[in-house]
């Protein structure tokens, strides 16, 4: 069993090393090698899954750091939570790898791309399988590093590297909070191992638990692009689309949710921080949705929708229904991954064009992509049979049941907006008259790209079944609760059918409004826009958040350190004062030097003056005793 688990890690590692070191020679096969590595790791995961009743598996491979009292082993742990995450990650990654073979086939950084994609999956698996917080942090920063490299993949043009740095730095801001939380845990528990921590949480006071969980949540906000630190995700779209699909939809951004779920005992101990998690989630969901409403860039809309859906997961995890959050995470991975891949194939067809205003009526040219896109959109809007409905509905239901009415209401409104912007996107790109400028001639993507999309589409459809209410409870709920524990009993009496109807109505209403505005009366959006001028421009420029951050933090920091710290403090104050000490001695030298004017008479006068002064001093100090 240990070997099998280790193999899950070894395969991506070997993939990375082969493509990384021998990249130049294995160029044509790089895609195949990488995908093979990930698929075999997926198979290993399935093997582990088959023997899932022997879980939880926990094994320490070697002692990584053992300083005095601070010993951190390299240990892997598989329980139902990490198993689900493992399957989702390896599954979606394999599909994205296969898709990328087609998508990146004439890119000159071909082997480098696949090398780092493998490294990414490796770090993500380490993050999931780690059995202590520090190893999770290793995976945490590892994925941050890979996302930096992959976003900046096309380093020739200026925007991607800048976006890469922004992603890495903003993640680092979150990581700083995460580290502090981690340090609190260590100083209190004396170890970072999950089992050691979760077994004796009795010693933990609620206030300390709150502090720990809040700091950990700062890390989650940074990594999963929640409200204050979400700015890097939209810019991350500079990277290749499969990267966005894998990293910025399915796996990396969900790390924050996984971490909160993993430390569910701590969160459940401190109601305040759970409340903070849920409200931040709700705020982000609503806020991101507003930004997606008016955006014209295909991938940016999907990016904001990811931020919004992550908000939902945090609502789920915040209110205490951890399994619901993870369930939505899984389903989201499927349909959001699908949407991104589809967007990628649109981009591939339109060789890089993303502006929806220049698209339209593409369904005729790209039937498969269009159909698949619609399935994804339906799933995300929460239309019943598809998976989105089950996971989003459970989250909203749980939110209401656990006495969070405001959050429920915000969730419902956001669901409406989600449906609206998704179908606005579909109608603008695939239906209506074609506004495609003539130099573009869109065509359907090759099979190697379409098949993974169809598999994902199937998963988006079937994915929800796992959450279906069956005889003995919801299978997903029981499976996950073995590690996450059952959510607290409902506080507010609600009848589930009514809730279901409301959320479905929201979805259909959103779709209808989108149809009305973009197909029936194309002039309506313009009229609506200038009727509510301020709101529209707010959404349009994404509430100027980027500019505010630049104005508040980046520019002043640069100005202070350049003009004040360096030019003034370093050069003028410290360095100048050091040189002045030198000049001081030279100055005394100059004054003393005046004595040496070459005239013997002045020498003798100075000497006799010296005699008199010294004599006076000797008599005065000695005293005539």
């Amino acid at each position: 069993m240990e070997l099998v688990v280790l193999l899950i890690l070894i395969f991506p590692l070997t993939g990375f090393l082969i493509n990384g070191i021998f990249g130049r020679w294995t160029k044509p096969l790089a895609g195949v090698v990488a995908s093979a590595a990930i698929v075999s790791s997926f198979i290993m995961a399935l093997a582990v899954a088959s023997g899932y009743n022997s879980l939880p598996f926990d094994h320490i491979y070697y002692s990584w750091i053992s300083s005095a009292g601070f010993s951190v082993p390299f240990g892997l742990r598989i329980d139902s939570l990490s198993l689900t995450m493992l399957l989702v990650v390896t599954g979606v990654s394999s599909l994205v790898h296969i898709y990328s073979i087609g998508y990146m086939h004439n890119d000159e950084g071909y082997s480098r791309y696949f090398a780092f994609l493998n490294l990414f999956v490796l770090s993500m698996i380490i993050l999931i399988l780690a059995d202590n917080y520090l190893l999770m942090f290793v995976g945490w920063e590892g994925v941050g590093f890979c996302s930096y490299i992959l976003i900046g993949h096309w380093y020739k043009n200026p925007a991607p590297p800048k976006a890469g740095i922004k992603a890495f730095v903003v993640n680092r801001i979150g990581d700083a909070g995460f580290i502090i939380g981690l340090l609190f845990i260590f100083t209190h528990f004396g170890s970072l191992n999950y089992t050691a921590i979760f077994n004796n949480t009795s010693t933990l006071s609620v206030s300390l638990a709150t502090v720990i969980t809040l700091f950990l949540f700062v890390g989650a906000v940074g990594k999963s692009a929640q409200f204050p630190l979400y700015v890097w995700l939209p810019d991350a779209m500079e990277g290749p689309t499969p990267v966005s699909a894998l990293i910025h939809a399915a796996t990396m951004v969900t790390a924050g949710v996984y971490m909160v779920a993993r430390s569910h005992i701590l969160y459940s101990m401190s109601p305040i921080s759970s409340e903070v998690v849920a409200s931040i989630g709700a705020l982000t969901a609503f806020f991101a949705a507003t930004m997606a409403l008016t955006h014209t860039d295909l991938k940016r809309v999907l990016a904001y929708s990811t931020v919004s859906q992550l908000g939902y997961m945090f609502i789920g995890v915040g209110v205490g229904a951890y399994w619901a959050g993870i369930f939505h995470l899984m389903t989201h991975a499927f349909f959001k991954g699908l949407l991104f891949l589809a967007a990628g194939s649109v981009m591939h067809a339109m060789d890089g064009l993303l502006d929806m205003r220049k698209m339209g009526g593409l369904i005729k040219k790209m039937p498969h992509t269009a159909v698949v896109f619609i399935i994804g959109a339906l799933a995300i809007s929460g239309i019943p049979p598809l998976s989105g409905f089950f996971s989003k509905d459970t989250i909203l239901a749980e939110a209401l049941k656990l006495n969070h009415p405001i959050i429920w209401f915000v969730g419902v409104v956001t669901a409406f907006m989600t449906a609206f912007y998704m179908f606005r996107l579909i109608f603008l790109t695939f239906f209506g008259k074609s506004r495609v400028p003539d130099e573009y001639h869109p065509h359907e993507s090759p099979a190697v790209m379409v098949t993974p999309m169809w598999i994902l589409a199937a998963l988006s459809i079937a994915g929800g079944l796992v959450g279906l209410e069956t005889a003995h409870g919801i299978p997903m709920k029981n499976f996950l609760s073995s590690t996450l524990g059952f959510p607290p009993a409902a506080v507010v009496e609600t009848n589930d059918n009514l809730l279901m109807i409301i959320s479905v109505l929201m979805g259909i209403g959103g779709i209808f409004l989108a149809w009305l505005m973009y197909i029936a009366k194309p002039s309506l959006p313009a009229k609506l826009a200038n009727s509510v001028k301020v709101l529209y421009s707010g959404c349009k420029n994404l509430w100027w958040v980027d500019q505010i951050y630049n104005f508040l933090f980046v520019k002043p920091l640069w100005w202070v350190s350049h003009n004040f710290l360096w030019k003034v403090v370093d050069v003028k104050l410290i360095d100048a004062s050091v040189d002045d000490v030198g000049f001081l001695s030279a100055f005394t030298g100059k004054t003393f030097r005046l004595l040496q004017n070459g005239f013997i008479n002045s020498y003798v006068t100075w000497a006799s003056l010296g005699v008199v002064v010294m004599l006076g001093w000797v008599i005065y100090s000695g005293g005539i005793r």
Partner: protein
């Protein structure tokens, strides 16, 4: 008043002086005989000084004080030690001046005769407790130095330097005599022990002490009486200024140590305050003004003032370690300073003595040995390990710390940091300013190369293994 006849055993006390006196006579005669082959004179004087050196080295041990001439003159380890220092400096000076005088075609051999006279006076100075003999020795020393300084009669700077040196020297020695006279009036005797017996603290006594101190402080170029040093070092011929920077200082310091230890023990607090001020000002003056110097000889002049200041710190410590430190420092100073002046002479051109530091540019690559030697001399003067200068400073400062002079040592240490700048700016010229100009013609004299070799050898060997000379110094200061 019974006049005691002097018998043979008395002369056993002044053997070194006798050897050099004999040398002087021989030189006198040979000078008359030899028309213009003057190099023979330098070889003879080297042989003579070597004999004196060997004598004091041989019977350095056991540590005993033999008195002669009714107890006025004696020979002890300290005397022998200073004798070694003086004769060694004389040898190096003679080796330096051998080809130098030839190049400047100075034909008169009195140069060596007068130098021998000054050596005798210094040997005498270091072996007497009687102030009158001290006065005689100081005067003969000063007079011979005036003459040697003005030896290059037809040059521009040499007479002027002699004139200045004469006026300042005479002025100081006048005060010395007045001091001795006042001591005589006050205590009835001119010997250190006699003065000490008076055990007085009266104003007249202090004035007397102070007058004598003026004479001594002038000789070691301490602060109020230092202004002659840079001009004379620049004006005098290089071997003379080299000789002048080491030998007279050694004799003056042993005199100062003996005088303070024995004669004026009663007013210790006063003279320690006085010396504290003098030491600090000497160090700061020497180091800060040297920062601005462009001429190497003037720089070495100011540096010798600064080193007098460091030695005063040792004297101020007033304990065995301090006095031994002063002796050891003088011993190390011989090698470093003579070597530095040798390199300075090595690069001077015929006729004009201008030894500006710019001439040193790039000699590190043209003459690697001279470059490395000069670099090590500069490091030793700054007091950077593994040189003798560092070990010397270490002894001086640790003695001062042992005597609780914390602030004085801190000031001293700051001074050596200041001094690092101008010493290393010499190293900058040697190595870091590109290659040497072709036009710099060097004085190709074998003996000069020997001096540099001895200098560098002494600086490094005693820097790494200082225990031999230091043990000699420690035992020498046992019985002053």
């Amino acid at each position: 008043m019974i006049i005691m006849p002097y018998h043979l055993s008395d002369f056993a006390v002044i053997v070194p002086e006798l050897i050099v006196a004999a040398l002087m006579l021989i030189l006198f005669v040979v000078d008359l005989a030899s028309k213009n082959r003057k190099k023979i004179l330098s070889s003879i004087s080297i042989a003579g000084y070597l004999a004196a050196l060997l004598y004091s080295v041989i019977n350095f041990w056991p540590a005993v004080q033999k008195f002669g001439f009714v107890g006025q003159i004696f020979i002890d380890q300290a005397g022998n030690f200073i004798n070694m220092v003086v004769t060694l400096t004389a040898i190096l000076a003679v080796m330096m001046s051998r080809d130098f005088l030839d190049r400047e075609n100075i034909k008169d051999g009195e140069y060596y005769v007068i130098m021998a006279a000054s050596v005798i006076s210094m040997q005498l100075l270091s072996s007497t407790h009687n102030l009158i003999i001290v006065f005689l020795a100081v005067e003969t020393l000063s007079i011979s130095m005036y003459i040697l300084t003005g030896f290059f009669k037809d040059k521009e700077k040499s007479p002027e330097a002699a004139m200045k040196y004469f006026i300042f020297g005479a002025f100081a020695s006048a005060f010395l005599v007045v001091g001795i006279a006042l001591f005589y009036i006050y205590s009835g005797s001119v010997e250190f022990s006699g003065i000490a017996k008076a055990n007085a603290e009266g104003l007249l006594f202090i004035v007397a002490f102070f007058m004598v101190m003026v004479g001594i402080l002038f000789k070691i170029a301490a602060f109020p009486f230092h202004s002659w040093t840079p001009d004379i070092y620049e004006g005098a011929p290089t071997p003379v200024s080299a000789f002048m920077s080491v030998a007279p200082k050694a004799a003056a310091f042993i005199l100062l140590i003996r005088f303070l230890a024995i004669a004026v023990a009663s007013i210790t607090v006063q003279w320690q305050n006085l010396l504290w001020i003098t030491a600090v000002f000497t160090m700061f003056f020497g180091n800060t003004v040297a920062l601005l110097q462009k001429d190497l000889k003037r720089l070495l002049g100011y540096s010798s003032i600064a080193h007098a200041g460091y030695m005063l710190v040792g004297v101020l410590a007033f304990n065995h370690l301090g006095n031994a430190g002063v002796l050891f420092y003088l011993f190390g100073y011989v090698f470093t300073n003579m070597g530095a002046f040798a390199v300075c002479e090595y690069l001077s051109k015929k006729g004009n003595e201008d030894a500006s530091i710019k001439n040193l540019r790039g000699i590190g690559y043209k003459y690697p040995a001279a470059g490395v030697a000069m670099a090590f001399f500069m490091l030793s003067l700054t007091g950077i390990p593994p040189t003798v200068g560092f070990v010397g400073k270490f002894y001086l400062f640790s003695a001062a710390i042992d005597a609780h002079y914390y602030w004085l040592v801190i000031l001293g240490v700051i001074n050596s940091a200041i001094s690092a700048y101008f010493y290393l700016s010499v190293v900058v010229e040697i190595y870091m300013k590109g290659d040497a100009k072709e036009s710099s013609v060097w004085l190709n004299s074998l003996t000069l190369k020997y001096v540099i070799a001895i200098g560098i050898a002494g600086t490094l060997i005693f820097g790494i293994l200082p225990s031999l000379p230091f043990n000699a110094a420690i035992s020498a200061v046992g019985i002053l």
